[in-house]
Amino acid sequence: MKDMLEPENIANIPSHIDAELLDSVDVERFGASRPPGLSYQMGGCGIAGCIDLTGGRISGGVIARMLETMGERENGLGAGYACYGLFPEHRDDYCMQFFFDHETAKAEVEELLKGLGTITKDEKVFTQRVKSMKPPFPLVWRYFFRPNNKLEWRGRSDLSNDDFIVQLVMHINSELEGALCVSSGKDMAVFKGNGYSYEISKFYDLDRYSGQMWISHSRFPTNSPAWWGGAHPLSILDWAVCHNGEITSYGVNRKFVEMAGYRCSVLTDTEVVTYIWDLLVRKHRLPITAAAFAMAPWYHDDINRLDAESARLARWLRITYKEALLNGPFSIIVGKRQPEVTMITLADRKKLRPLLCGLSPDRKVAYAASEECAVRVVSPNAETWTPNAGSPMVAMAGRGVLRTGNELPFQGGV
């Protein structure tokens, strides 16, 4: 694997970090290519997100501070950020951001894209060498892509543009060696990699970006390799998911998305969670509350306490989507852009992993994080609350906090 990245700028480690301690994890490291023999990865983590509810913009420095504050929740084997409302001038093109291990992979991807549509613009994503980070450093490149009008993919001409992009990303990630599409949504992008949260924010120089919403993640994997592709957020189309937890039903959930045509290439439970959101909300057109209920449902006995109409829906969600139930501890922050930039949070139905939400005193910015310190560090006087187990908090740009996560299922109009 060739080290592709020629360092232009060198960033130093922030002064509050003791450089001596950073060398302790000695593992094999991987860029875009999947580590050999990898079949499943798991871990504990820190998550944070913020969204400007008025349509204003938030600088990358804000989310970086939120995430870095929870330093105990990471061990240097992966961190990442997703930013929404990032490319207003290209908002109608799919922004496909890639890791490449070598030029051949890049050339292959370009050839593929050119055959299937128009690359309206492409550019190297700004990165800089961070002293404490170790190779490999995959090349990070982004393409603004518009699929052909007359689409055909493997003999199928009935695919919507979104479905086509899903198929294309699955194809690239599982078939093209040395290339990994890390995000493919419109007006959003994922910045992630192998390192501590502060290393990744420096590596991409997040201060140079601002967007309507950021979600982020730092990893504490227990037994998985240091792989750039395995870092969060995991993303497909305009969905991005940051996930702290370990899904004990992974085998079942994976079957569920594979039956619907998704191919798991990153092999984390987060990848599967991302596809479940896409399947339930985009493809099956479930409201967010119903999709969240399928993933973290009430107990059968509690369902009987709901009004008759809600109980019927609840029961059938459990029956129809029993393979979508995410068992085990988790808290997630989900980003999406359609119809508006939206942040969703969800914790498992026993609330085994922490999750806290917040609102700035001027009610302009909503926050979500694993720990309260992450909110306080950027908004000391924010109003904070903890959503109920299995109940989504939904915050939408331009519309405010539609749901706090303390309501009954299916309430909140989303």
Binding site: L38, S39, Y40, Q41, M42, G43, G44, T222, N223, S224, P225, G245, E246, T248, S249, Y250, G251, V252, K255, F256, E258, M259, A260, G261, L267, H284, R285, L286, P287, T289, A290, Y299, H300, D301, E309, S310, R312, L313, W316, L317, R318, I319, T320, Y321, K322, E323, L325, N327, G328, P329, R349, K350, L352, F410, Q411, G413
Partner: protein, 512 residues
Amino acid sequence: MAQTEAVKRRMELEAPERFMPVIDASLCKRCRKCVNECSYRALDFVDGNVRPAGGCVACGRCINVCPAHCIEIRQIPSQFPPHANFNERVRRAIMSQASTGGVLLTSCGTDIAYPVMFDEMVLDAAQVTNPAIDPLREVVETRTYVGGRKGRLRVNEKGPPYLDEDPGPIIAMDMPIMIGHISLGSVSYNAQKALFMAAKELNILAGSGEGGLHRDFLPYAKNVVSEIASGRFGVTGDYLKSTAAVEIKIGQGAKPGHGGHLPGEKVSAMISQTRMIPLGTDAISPYPHHDIYSIEDLQQLISVVKESVEYKVPVGVKIAAVHNVGAIASGIVRAGADFITIDGFRGGTGSTPRIIRDHVGLPIEVAISVVDQRLTKEGLRNRVTVFAGGSIRSSADMIKAIALGADAVMVCTAALVAMGCRVCQQCHRGMCSWGIATQREELASRLNPEVASARVVRLFRSWNEELKEILGAMGIDSVESLVGNRDRLRYFGPNSKIAEIMGVKHVGEGWG
């Protein structure tokens, strides 16, 4: 008794006895209870003493009734000169066939020591990175829904979400267990009543078996899966509609390719009435359904049955596990079945040719996994409920069957053992001394339905508690998250090819 030369000759060549009741004469009270209770007439009272009379099958009834606790049943050591190839089992079969000149009948599941893959797999548990759940303190759910699913729910997109109506008929069971199809005929009225009572009490399903439902059992109909077998005995439209679900029986694990077989000995007046057949005649069902010679025919029958029950109850299909079970199951789902029952080759029966019981079919462990993988690959697994049976002996078997890909298990023999059955494998003779597999009034009355049902209830409740313990240990709080979760199983046997086929990793292989 004067014996003809021929009979004498046969006696000489008959295989030696296998079991002998031994009575301690110093303790015996000479009450003759054992003599009267032995339905096989293996005990005699001669000159003031109890004496073995031959033909003991080790059903153990005498031991349980003896007030002096002075009976022991000995397995008579092999009388055959050792030969590993022509072993005792082989020689006994030859001798019986030479005597009878017929197909040897037997019952229960095969007694051959085939490898049991359930015993060669171990389960996973949660440690550190996810918390185990204590089912005594936290909710761990085992409710299992039975029926077809659409794979997608259409919910209105504007306003608060709701559903206009149920998307189809569905049944909730409190635990992933169904009592299998044990027909009235193969077992006594009291035995079937006990099973139905237990199913009702546990809120689970029980199969009717072939031959319809006795009038008295209508109160249990909401817990009964009625069966349409090739003989069509006792099947009427009203009957089907009154039960919880309908199952078209194509095959049975203990006798794939064979139809039901109820020996004439068991066709009493009551049986002749419910099955609508003459008294004392063998009720032998055709091997195939004579209106199903192909998958299209099955599809038509499923449609006809669904029409006749007005789409009010789920309609399923039961097949024996055979080598091509994956493709067959896929065809059955495409033909419209709401549930499939797969019966493995170690499964039990009330009567079957021994050659089929012992040598035909597929072990259920492999069948479940193959079917689950095939249906998943074809995007059909979330359309159907899969039952798996064929020697589910314990909660461990049940849990592993679910992890391999079954939604629920079907259990027969274990329920009978709970009621008193000793697996003596004589059901086909209709003389069951425990009052289970018999139609003789004096024997059937030995089984008290209340007592027997309470024992079945306790057995399955304990299995369900054990299921919760295991789920909790795995960090799973609802049983559906175990269905087909083969990641949580590891193979620990001698044949890694089997593990590969089942899609189960070997012990020592981690997750990543």
